[in-house]
Symmetry: C2
Subunit: 143 residues, 2 copies
Amino acid sequence: MIKALDQNQSRELLRRERIGRLGCISEGVPYVVPVNYVFDGECACLHSLPGQKIEAMRSEPRVCLQVDEIEDELNWKSVLAYGIYEEITNQHERAEALNHLLARFSRLTPVESFIAVDATAPAPIVFRIRINRITGICEGGER
Amino acid sequence: MIKALDQNQSRELLRRERIGRLGCISEGVPYVVPVNYVFDGECACLHSLPGQKIEAMRSEPRVCLQVDEIEDELNWKSVLAYGIYEEITNQHERAEALNHLLARFSRLTPVESFIAVDATAPAPIVFRIRINRITGICEGGER
């Protein structure tokens, strides 16, 4: 039986997980990529090198972040957070957001460090998804 | 360093995995859900109860299936298969597709059996995604 998760259950799942799938629309068709994120209760914070997903979100900022916990076909939870793409360009806010991300994903630090010393590498884009709606469903027992 | 997967690597990943994230467009915004699938080299075969994703794909049949293998932030592969939603309504084809799915996901059998004996339950929709383009990227070592 598939049941709804309530808002608290959905938000807790978003807070405790680290990997999600970002859904956006690229040239009229759906585009989905795995991402690392941090959810602070209002926004999901992410970073990415420039590329197709950044171009897609700049052009159509209504995006979603899908996060799940799957044990097997009959025991799973999935949360879908809808929101608006916002690029973080202010230097202070950008540094704060990067610190927030790197505190959670310490292994990513070398990438940013590498970029800092390689002037030819493109700067990573730091962005948030300002969440305006969250839905969650589950099947099977509690984990 | 993020690198491209070639077509063979991408197709192998689609064949060996069982869980993907289906991306579609629902009322103008991206919609992503985890799904079980079987890939036969041309199509991904899936089933679902009626609901938002079926309505979305009937209205906008250009969809994608994203499948990944993630070890950690620096070691992962992700494949994105673009294709067209096709509902399987012919009874013979539908039975064949369901058998194909149930052979791979034997634990799903009770759901279909349950539905078969409960006339009030909605019949599951069986559908394929006819894949027309596959891209794949990876970072880090080979698994």
